[in-house]
């Protein structure tokens, strides 16, 4: 860059000094990235290892459960055991350590193993990839709606603070935040399906009507959106309160800042102060929250998908837990951990990028 304007000499010296700063900056950034990467890898290893051993040392492994259910059908214990082992194609008599090294070795080659019970023999990775889009789409869209609505309502509450509308909004969102989302879901099913009869029950069970194939057809999209409607309402209702309260307090503290007073004194139009000054600054910390929430999107979907029989990863996890499908449980847990850790790292970086004050502070350090 400095060579493009050779005719002016004084600025050149300045850019040289900047380059020195740049180098320092890049060095510290690289160090930061290196440390974050190492920490991330360590946590992923820790979670995988812990879950591996916890799952296998606790009572009720899948072979035992299968043997029990086979014995219920009248087989003798030996027959049942032989049958179950053949079905699972796995040697549970092998020492746990040997199972662990095999598992880790496969993992490093990107192989999460095959499902034991829910879809015997099918690679966990394939099942995950098949289910993931549903959850990401449904819970992701709901998260964005909830976030934007929360910011909007939070600003209203902050601007009208201590008025009746603020009282109403804060109390309602505090309550929505405290009511378990399972209860919200069932209340909505009862309200919309039973009491008002505006939504047929078939729209609140499953992610598609029977007979409709996924593809780029209008029929598919309409049907998918119809099944998304009520679960989406539940997600929004149960997370809206948190966003709103956060935005409200963030806005109130921004309103007291000097730059807002100055902007008012300069006679800027109210709308411009609200959007470009207060809104932009007050929503900064919330964007970090949004990035973190993106990682938790699947985690929050378990119970909702169970209630609405929505064919996503959340439902898959509860089914895998019920049937003790270890590779599947392990695969989902690993994927969720990676998502959560990555989104936290993204949130950190995002915050530095959105708020220069933090960048400068960490640069000086």
């Amino acid at each position: 860059m400095s060579t493009t304007t050779p005719s002016i000499s004084p600025p050149r010296r300045r850019t040289l000094r900047l380059n020195q700063q740049d180098r320092d900056h890049w060095l510290s950034t690289a160090k930061y990235f290196g440390r974050t990467l190492l920490k991330t890898l360590f946590i992923i290893w820790l979670v995988t290892t812990l879950t591996f051993f916890i799952i296998r040392t606790l009572p009720g492994n899948p072979v035992d459960i299968m043997v029990m259910s086979l014995m219920d059908t009248g087989l003798s214990e030996e027959e049942a055991q032989a049958r179950a082992k053949a079905l699972f194609r796995i040697d549970f008599d092998k020492p746990v350590m040997a199972q662990y090294t095999e598992f880790m070795n496969n993992l490093l080659h990107g192989d999460l193993g095959d499902s034991y019970v829910l879809a015997p023999g099918k690679p966990v990775m394939d099942i995950l990839m098949q289910r993931l889009p549903w959850t990401l789409f449904s819970a992701g869209i709901s998260l964005l709606i909830s976030f934007m609505l929360g910011i909007f309502l939070g600003m209203i509450a902050a601007y009208k603070r201590n008025s009746w509308i603020d009282q109403l909004l804060t109390n309602v969102s505090a309550i929505l935040d405290a009511v378990p989302n399972t209860l919200t879901a069932i209340l909505l099913v009862m309200l919309l399906g039973l009491a008002l009869k505006v939504v047929p029950f078939s729209m609140m069970r499953g992610s598609l009507s029977p007979g409709i194939k996924p593809g780029f057809t209008l029929e598919f999209f309409v049907d998918a959106f119809r099944h998304l409607l009520v679960p989406c309402m539940v997600y929004v209702l149960s997370t809206l309160g948190g966003w709103m309260l956060a935005m409200r307090s963030s806005t109130i503290s921004a309103l007291g800042d000097d730059y807002v007073t100055v902007a008012k004194a300069r006679g800027l139009p109210d709308m411009r102060i609200i959007t470009a000054y207060v809104g932009r600054n007050a929503s900064l910390p919330l964007f970090t929250g949004l990035a973190i929430s993106l990682g938790f999107v699947v985690a929050g979907s378990v119970l909702i998908e169970l209630i609405f029989v929505y064919q996503g990863v959340g439902l898959l996890l509860s089914q895998a837990i019920a049937k003790r499908d270890y590779p599947l449980m392990q695969g989902i847990l690993l994927m969720l951990t990676i998502m959560v850790i990555l989104s936290t790292a993204v949130a950190d970086l995002l915050y530095g990028w959105l708020d220069p004050r933090i960048r400068i502070a960490s640069g000086e350090k």
Partner: protein, 294 residues
């Protein structure tokens, strides 16, 4: 002797003042009254309301009548009796989990902030690691694997999952308290760590801790409902179990059975509501700046 008589009087007076400030905030007072009523119903109620001797098989999935003010469930059990008897379990879990969460968080936060150095680094890395993990999912997976066969076990289990956020908050509070003049004065007077922590620092954090306790109870009830829903906690007669057993019979699709869901769900929601309102008005009691028009 004078001190002996003065103490109850002082206690009475400060309780009275607290109640007066609570009563000033209508919503908060309502929350307080609801909280106390639900406690009384759950712990004293079973002594007054006779247990159901036999299910009323003539009224299955009944609507409210004079005999059954909240209707009956799919087996003809009285919903009101189940709600009265189902409170204790839920509340005990909430109290156990709430108190333990706060205790663990205080120990981690206080030791970390007060001792500093490698203790701080170690305790905070544990806290941060635990914070970054998908705890809800780990909670679900572990709860189905660990045999949670008593309410106390469930309370302890829930507390292990909910302390890290609070520990961080307490650490930063203590760090800022350490710089206050009266604490520095106590340090200079060489009053000893226990005195400084328990007599100087914790009292000024009591409001924060009381509100954190209520929040932790709220979270514990939330998680407990989720776990019952996943079929992870096998025991019980609590509200969440009553609600789940009706749900498992598809009560949410039948207009007749609605009351067997509304009764236990109403109890849970009312209790959560009372906690929310109560904690918001407590903030006002502890923080005079929030009191409007006093």
């Amino acid at each position: 002797m004078a001190a002996m008589t003065a103490l109850p009087q002082r206690l009475f007076k400060s309780t009275w003042t607290t109640l007066k400030i609570l009563a000033r905030n209508k919503a908060g007072f309502l929350g307080f009254v609801m909280f106390v009523s639900l406690l009384l119903m759950s712990f004293i109620g079973p002594l007054i309301v006779p247990p159901e001797v036999q299910a009323d098989t003539t009224a299955i999935n009944g609507s409210p009548t004079a005999d059954h003010p909240l209707g009956t469930n799919f087996q003809g059990h009285d919903n009101l009796v189940m709600v009265v008897y189902g409170g204790r379990e839920v509340l005990v879990v909430a109290f156990t989990a709430g108190i333990l969460t706060v205790l663990i968080a205080i120990s981690f936060g206080a030791f970390s902030a007060y001792l500093g150095g490698w203790v701080d680094t170690l305790l905070m890395s544990i806290t941060d690691t635990w914070l970054t993990l998908p705890r809800a999912i780990i909670l679900y997976v572990l709860a189905t694997l660990v045999e949670l066969d008593s309410i106390n076990a469930l309370g302890i289990f829930l507390a292990l999952f909910s302390w890290p956020g609070l520990a961080r908050q307490i650490r930063s509070q203590i760090l800022s308290l350490k710089k206050r003049e009266y604490v520095e004065a106590a340090v200079l007077l060489d009053l000893g760590t226990p005195h400084i922590v328990f007599r100087e620092m914790l009292p000024s954090m009591m409001s924060f801790i009381a509100i954190a306790l209520i929040d932790a109870m709220k979270v514990a009830i939330y998680q407990q409902v989720s776990l019952v829903f996943l079929g992870a906690v096998p025991f019980g007669s609590g509200w969440s179990t009553v609600f789940y057993s009706a749900y498992a019979k598809n009560a949410q699709y039948q207009a007749d059975a609605a009351w067997s869901l509304i009764a236990p769900m109403g109890a849970i929601i009312l209790f959560q509501l009372s906690l929310v309102l109560f904690s918001r008005s407590l903030e006002e009691v502890f923080n005079p700046r929030l009191r409007v028009g006093v």
